[in-house]
């Protein structure tokens, strides 16, 4: 009972001191003082400041309460509630303070206080049990403000990525505009998997069986899914011409909606809008192995003449491809998942490896702009290969020779390695 009375007195004193600080703006003895805050240069987001202060030699004694640490608190200068920052030990004199959101560009007032907790055995037990250590109200020291962290607007460590990305984009765009008029003269290496697309559609037409098209298990935000949908467009245009049924089980509703639109447009362009059936592009499930079970079931029951697996795949790649193999379908796969490529190569008749998936749209359509873009891509690839060879030579030179030339070679390698 005595302890509780003492704690009540302590709290009253704390409240009185708090009012006193609010009126005078000066921290009383036994509280942190000399608070400074500056932007944290190591934190690029612009939400963190480094706060420094002088810790009290002895925290202000309050009856029934014990000092448990120093608490940094902050609020918006234009009026806002104090928010709790980090709680640091009693001898700490510096700490980073985050969550100073820069939008809509507010300025902040920051203070440091000693935080008290109940004294005696009760308080000790509460702290050991992990109950909140502090008590309100918190007594603020002299505050500092207005302060505003400054964020960075550019990741300088990404300069090499930016330079190469801009270079590649410029090469591709320049090539498109340079050779689009004579794109039909551009040689494209024959890709067996894409040459076989017509055979697969023809086979399905002759057998009167459907084609199954799987566009991977990634969402619509994945570039390989987009590449896969572009291939589906070309494929459906051709299958529409022969009125061959194409089944597209989907594991993502957004992909399903987009693919329906693509296939509908393809049927319209092929002059067979009545042959389009939206029910052939259907959602199954977003569960990975549930989807595999469903597609395997469709293949075993429908016995499709051809199966296409284009997009990004995970562990289900081999299960799908082996099932298709057992049903006797001609199988064409294309993926940029390097871990799944060996499985597709093993189980499928043709496999588009990596970039061939992205080239498929240009290859199938032979449209001037797309073919020109393909040429630009090849030029960029040649430049990257040349840079890699130069890097190997430079690294070797820097390792065996010393001097200014070796330093330049080392800097060249390190700029790319950064």
């Amino acid at each position: 009972m005595n302890t509780l009375r003492l704690q009540a007195i302590g709290l009253c004193m704390l409240l009185a001191a708090s009012v006193c600080v609010a009126q005078t703006g000066v921290a009383p003895a036994g509280m942190p003082s000399g608070v400074q805050a500056e932007d944290d240069p190591e934190e690029p987001r612009g939400t963190q400041a480094i706060v420094t202060w002088q810790a009290p030699e002895e925290p202000m004694p309050l009856p029934g309460l014990v000092a448990v640490g120093q608490r940094v608190i902050f609020r918006r200068v234009d009026g806002g509630e104090w928010q709790l920052g980090p709680l640091v030990p009693l001898d700490a004199t510096s700490t980073p303070v985050g969550d100073l959101k820069p939008w809509p560009w507010p300025k902040w007032e920051i203070a440091v206080s000693v935080e008290y907790g109940p004294g005696g055995a009760l308080g000790e037990m509460a702290r050991e049990a992990g109950w909140p250590a502090g008590v309100d109200p918190i007594l603020p020291s002299a505050t500092v403000g207005p302060v505003r962290p400054v964020g960075a607007w550019y990741k300088s460590e990404y300069t090499n990525i930016l330079a190469l990305a801009v270079l590649i984009c410029l090469i591709v765009i320049a090539t498109i505009y340079a050779i689009r008029g004579r794109a039909e003269q551009v040689y494209i290496r024959p890709i067996a998997g894409l040459e076989a697309v017509n055979d697969a559609i023809g086979r399905a037409t002759e057998m009167g069986k459907p084609i199954v098209y799987v566009s991977g298990l990634s969402g619509i935000g994945d570039i390989s899914t987009i590449a896969s949908m572009l291939i589906l467009g070309h494929l459906s245009r051709r299958s529409a011409a022969y009125e061959t049924e194409i089944l597209v089980p989907c594991n993502d509703p957004l992909v399903m909606a987009t693919e329906r639109e693509i296939v509908r447009q393809a049927y319209t362009e092929a002059g067979k809008p009545d042959a389009y059936s939206p029910d052939n592009i259907f959602f199954v499930t977003d569960s990975q192995f549930g989807y595999v079970a469903a597609v395997d079931g469709i293949m075993v029951r429908e016995k499709p003449a051809a199966a296409f697996y284009m997009g990004y795949f995970y562990a289900e790649a081999l299960i799908l491809a082996e099932t298709g193999n057992q049903t006797g379908a001609i199988q064409i796969a294309g993926t940029d998942a390097d871990t799944q490529l060996p499985f597709f190569i093993t189980a499928c008749d043709y496999t588009l490896m990596g970039e061939e998936l992205y080239a498929a749209s240009a290859y199938l359509s032979r449209q001037p702009l797309l073919v020109a873009q393909l040429r630009g891509q090849d030029i960029a690839k040649s430049i990257i290969a040349a840079v890699m060879v130069a890097g190997v030579l430079a690294a070797t030179y820097a390792a065996i020779v010393t001097g200014a030339a070796a330093d330049v070679a080392r800097a060249f390698v390190e700029w790319f390695a950064a």
């Binding site: 964020g151 984009c169 689009r180 569960s287 970039e355 797309l370 630009g376």
Partner: protein
């Protein structure tokens, strides 16, 4: 207009995403997070389309008594059961939904996944037949890697003879060398190609050269 507006949105969103990658400021990151949230909201609405598609496909199949229609009744019954249990009784740990998920869905998933072991065996049997030089190289590399990665396998095969001990000591290093150099070199070649292909595909979609995903045919003319 029907084509231009989506193209403009695609271009602006593409430019924003490319720029924000180089901007560490909280403002850029917040805007990026907001855009991702919009994506999630759109995806949530699209889920309605997915459910509608699922139900429509299976109901049609049952109604028209198409081949294997009883499977569709199982699919619809399972769907309805999970919705009723989930919405009616919650999906917290220990709930009926959680029980069905743990004791039905997880074992079914595991069953499908475990099929992979058998499929790997059948695929390996087909692939590892030394019908050509490349296939023979593949077979030898695969055997070396497998033996190098199974501790004690060479001792079992060759016993504690000199050759057995030598292979037991050195085969793991050979296996590691194959994985770290020829294998990684091949993978990196593929990854380079993929990276360039991704940039080029993104570029042609952003610039409107490729439009077939918008249902408007490609920008470069008609299909062959």
């Amino acid at each position: 207009m029907k084509l231009q507006v989506p193209l403009l949105i695609t271009f602006l969103a593409g430019v924003f995403m490319a720029v924000q990658f180089f901007v560490p400021h909280e403002l850029g990151q917040t805007a990026f997070g907001e855009l991702l949230n919009w994506g999630r909201i759109v995806a949530a609405f699209a889920l309605v389309l997915g459910i509608q598609s699922l139900l429509r496909t299976h109901v049609e199949k049952i109604r028209r008594r198409r081949r294997d229609w009883p499977y569709s009744t199982v699919a619809i019954a399972s769907f309805v059961m999970m919705v009723v249990i989930g919405i009616g009784f919650g999906s917290d740990r220990g709930s009926g939904f959680d029980w069905v998920f743990t004791h039905v869905q997880v074992p079914l998933d595991a069953t499908m996944f475990s099929l992979l072991a058998f499929f790997i065996a059948s695929a390996a049997f087909r692939t590892f037949r030394a019908r050509s030089t490349e296939a023979t190289l593949l077979l030898v590399a695969a055997v070396v890697v497998m033996l190098g990665r199974v501790p004690g396998s060479l001792i079992v095969v060759f016993g504690h003879s000199g050759a057995g001990e030598w292979l037991h000591t050195n085969m793991p290093d050979v296996s590691e060398w194959i994985m770290n150099f020829p294998s990684v070199a091949g993978k990196r070649g593929i990854i380079f190609g993929v990276a360039l292909g991704s940039i080029a595909t993104a570029l042609r979609i952003m610039l409107g050269i490729e439009r077939s995903h918008l249902g408007g045919g490609s920008g470069g003319g008609g299909d062959e």
